[in-house]
Symmetry: C4
Subunit: 368 residues, 4 copies
Amino acid sequence: MASQAGIIDSHDARLNTPKTEVPEGSSQESTVQARSRHRGDTLDSVRNYLGLKPEAPVAEDHQSLEHHELLWSRIRLALREPFAEFFGTFIMVMFGDGSVAQVLLSAGNKTSPGGNGSGQYQSISWGWGLGVMLGIYVAGNSGGFLNPAITFNFCLFRGLPWKRFPVYLLAQFLGGFVAAGVIYANYINAINDVEGHNIRTVPPNPTATAGVFCTYPRAFLTKASQFFSEFITATLLQFVIFALKDESNPGAMGKTGAGPFFPLALFFLIFGLGACFGYETGYAINLARDFGPRLMSYAVGYGHEVWSAGGYYFWIPIVASFLGCTFGGFLYDVFIYTGPESPINTPWLGLKRLVMPKGFVKPARDEV
Amino acid sequence: MASQAGIIDSHDARLNTPKTEVPEGSSQESTVQARSRHRGDTLDSVRNYLGLKPEAPVAEDHQSLEHHELLWSRIRLALREPFAEFFGTFIMVMFGDGSVAQVLLSAGNKTSPGGNGSGQYQSISWGWGLGVMLGIYVAGNSGGFLNPAITFNFCLFRGLPWKRFPVYLLAQFLGGFVAAGVIYANYINAINDVEGHNIRTVPPNPTATAGVFCTYPRAFLTKASQFFSEFITATLLQFVIFALKDESNPGAMGKTGAGPFFPLALFFLIFGLGACFGYETGYAINLARDFGPRLMSYAVGYGHEVWSAGGYYFWIPIVASFLGCTFGGFLYDVFIYTGPESPINTPWLGLKRLVMPKGFVKPARDEV
Amino acid sequence: MASQAGIIDSHDARLNTPKTEVPEGSSQESTVQARSRHRGDTLDSVRNYLGLKPEAPVAEDHQSLEHHELLWSRIRLALREPFAEFFGTFIMVMFGDGSVAQVLLSAGNKTSPGGNGSGQYQSISWGWGLGVMLGIYVAGNSGGFLNPAITFNFCLFRGLPWKRFPVYLLAQFLGGFVAAGVIYANYINAINDVEGHNIRTVPPNPTATAGVFCTYPRAFLTKASQFFSEFITATLLQFVIFALKDESNPGAMGKTGAGPFFPLALFFLIFGLGACFGYETGYAINLARDFGPRLMSYAVGYGHEVWSAGGYYFWIPIVASFLGCTFGGFLYDVFIYTGPESPINTPWLGLKRLVMPKGFVKPARDEV
Amino acid sequence: MASQAGIIDSHDARLNTPKTEVPEGSSQESTVQARSRHRGDTLDSVRNYLGLKPEAPVAEDHQSLEHHELLWSRIRLALREPFAEFFGTFIMVMFGDGSVAQVLLSAGNKTSPGGNGSGQYQSISWGWGLGVMLGIYVAGNSGGFLNPAITFNFCLFRGLPWKRFPVYLLAQFLGGFVAAGVIYANYINAINDVEGHNIRTVPPNPTATAGVFCTYPRAFLTKASQFFSEFITATLLQFVIFALKDESNPGAMGKTGAGPFFPLALFFLIFGLGACFGYETGYAINLARDFGPRLMSYAVGYGHEVWSAGGYYFWIPIVASFLGCTFGGFLYDVFIYTGPESPINTPWLGLKRLVMPKGFVKPARDEV
């Protein structure tokens, strides 16, 4: 869920030493520097404003193509990573919310083949699992984070530049927001069929359809349990992603290489979170997947209850996803990770870095 | 779902400059030129008539085999790509329609192991998903499109020669048509068991079995919703296929290579479309999968209702699949694709190419 | 399902020209010739008697190990391929019959987690699919056929020596026979729980458990439909296996290589046959999977009805699997395969080979 | 489930000849010998005390990093393999027990999407299968055994040093124990919802929830059947793992390499054991997965019945997993394995090694 080499350039970005720029994304890609120089600096300034690297990631054999002179091609390069995150999250939420919609709205329908609806609960594990998998394939240009809490942790523990966080967050949020709108447009007749025309309700109303878009907690949960369920699920998410992305862990990247299995492994991870930790709060663990569609459901008329339901539950998936993912990343780095870009691997478990951020990288004098 | 290098030769074909022919399919394959020269030109003229490249794709180590002199071996080479599309689509529809047949006809059967039929709705997602996956493995010689709308978009956006479109379409249609006939022959006793001898009905009849072969929409859908559901599903199909086939997208083809995962990723994509967008109209999104079997069901006696059901719904999967796929391809190329063969990456987003098709490829003067 | 290079040595074996022996299995392996020479010829004569190559397939770095001098190590080498087929088929039937046992015997059990048995019909598709997948991994030394009809077709169309067919068949049969016995031992209490002590019945008895071991057809099927269902399923099995094993088909073995995906693809293929063609006759399509366990169920006391049920149905999976697989292999070779070892690619579609088997390989005079 | 090269160094460890040390884990990794020398010997002595190799496995490009001088980094290196086994087993049990919890506690819940609980029995097969898969990815530094019986067999048959067994066992046990505690904390409200506050019961009580944590056998089983079911399942587990890890078996590691498919293959293996052999005793086959969580369930108040239920069943998964796995490893090595590190491949099937352990490795005099 993160660009594989996008880690190192963060130091450069922070230290303002762009001359030793390391290309991002993969070795196959390099910069369009020469070209962009005579193209003027509008593109560069937009990308700089958004916190992105000066040069957009483009495959090497596409770098010198003439069409990069065209207006739209240049806009596309300027917004390359945000577009990737937008469409990756869009694809994820289309399949994810689509699966919930189909299961919820067809429940018990006797005219479906098999005579009992068009899918059971497990369909939802499939939908979110493969939605994340396909979203990662789509969002290769940005690293395929698809989740602000994941981006946050790659900034915190893997040196992704903090300046990129806002535009990634915005793109992810918009991807989820727009996808929820398309799902609503697609399933509006089926929603009417279940709830009735112009009736839109949230759980625990028995015919509620608001659960298509975002998550609502079980009635038997205390506030602490609501939080804990989202927190521990987010912890698992980040811990396993760091393991799968850790090239120094032989389990993930050893002699034979599990790298190309990453999207498939994410399918299993997300499927598992749904099958094992989805009962209590619906495993939102993602602002873009929960807050975006929730706002859309508010916009199309589900009413103020989308916020107030479950004791104003709506903020829990947001806060718990950030705290849980951070705890998961912390755990992985404390107990397993040996790479130098993690603050855990600096003096005082990173606290020294917090106090003296400029001076923490000292040349290793006694090394050759 | 398209030959990986089959893109570039389209320019040659259109510009009639066959001397710089690029071999299609993979680097492993090359031409049987020398051989075909003294074999006379019947084979070449058939292939030319069908819009195929003069030389059939054959694995390098099989090119100089003696049996290519035999009559049948030559016919097989002449029709290599159509045979591949026919059998790929045949396999896809065999598994797809087979899964619908099994779920529909066994629904509620208490003598199945487990006591409740031989499969639930999810079986159908499996059937179509793995049918497409195995069909792509089978149809390697043509690129494994299996869907006229996908072929159409590879012609429109990836430079596949338009001349090939008709014969691919015909092969795909016939593959679906014949497969539906075999499924009918296989399940005729089970259909009689459900409907009664010589009784064949279409939905919404409660015991209808026409849904085994092609799709019928839910009763609660408006015409617009019928169209939108097929349109958006086809959009997702084409968008993700372009992402998975984009060698310049690190998500699909980066350092480690997701290429060999393509058939498996298609399993997840098709499974997902069935689990997330299959409730309303049955996710036909393919002329070969819907119109072919529909015609067969008409031929074996399901009556005029196969056309008139759902307010003459039958044309919607055809039109919506082409329009939706084209919109999906357009989206991908506008926002993500940087390759030169897409008309989106020519002046005026391809409109200039429309006006002056011959002159659009100018040598890049200021490039070396 | 066949050793990848095990094809060419068949010509040598038949023509008695062992000097140009091609090592079987993979390039990684070679012969233990030098060693076996001073070991005397008992091992060789056993292998020769069984129709196997003189040298057992052993990984290159294990060839010169001292323990090959020990008695048991030599017996293990002598019976290397039969052991592989035995254990591969054993694993396949353990998981396959195990899944049927679990679903059938736990049906409706309210104390299972979820309250409705320990698995539904789909479990059986999983069991057979992953059983075949794991069996292929286990039986790497022999090629992983696991099915006499598949072995038969690799003899007929891919040059596997016919002399090996009997010992492979015997090993596969024994693997299924023994596995069914272990399954019976494992589930005997659960069978008693369902049927009662010392009561063992076959379908259509409502509490019959004979279906755990082998297949019984639906009551509504005519004899012709019983045969057709097994025939067409076997056709699909062989056709797709030939496609997946065809290194000259870019879909299976192109630039990026689908080779290591073979066991996984077989999971999907077998899962699909179960989900799409399992309703009518139970997709036996394999003597080793059906006749072996049927004989075991007869031995442990299910009575003469295991043979007479379904109008003496027991012979249909045997005959239909051979005929169906042969038709599938024929179809693939007629329409797609270009390799020289298929008789289809000889004069008169192989009939000349039938008439004059010795002389059919002529040196290609006009080739360099 | 074992480090791929971690086999050979066992001889060295036993014979106390550390000078020809072979690096463990993968060729990518090597020792941090030079560094650890001037770091003093505390780290070494801890690792030596635990039976681990003197140098912790670290990726080559992370070996000379400065942070290895920091206190915590050194502790992390000292306990590298135990940490890996702990977290691998923790992840496995989190997903495994989480899936049982979700299915058991949500059974029949009408407010779940689809109207019938949040998952059926099959969810549990998914949970354990993907839990093992992800656990193996996490525990790359130790080899990813996750099961004392598997570790035991790699010691017995593959030369893993016996001295490591205790610390691996402890780490695995603690991983399962802690994970069960987290699962309890997460699902405590749902458990209260099913059982009532402060009521905790074990099967066969109809509302029992103790089955969330560890396994309880079916009432209809005899003691012998309880044992046999666990024994045969453990046999299959070890047999297939040895096949998948056997680099000399072309099915697992041939020309194209199935190595990177190992975690995915384990998903299918564990899924299969659950779908085919999970009905009678719940396929514990692992001390860490059964005894650890059982102790935790005792600690949180399920009472003495966690031990006495099923006729003091609790010891059977422990004993049967060791005996069954050993039988499975024995079978594989007797019939298939040709590598020299198995005692089966020494004189008298390893008995000579038992009698004269020091002298069994003689230089192969007649080999070069």
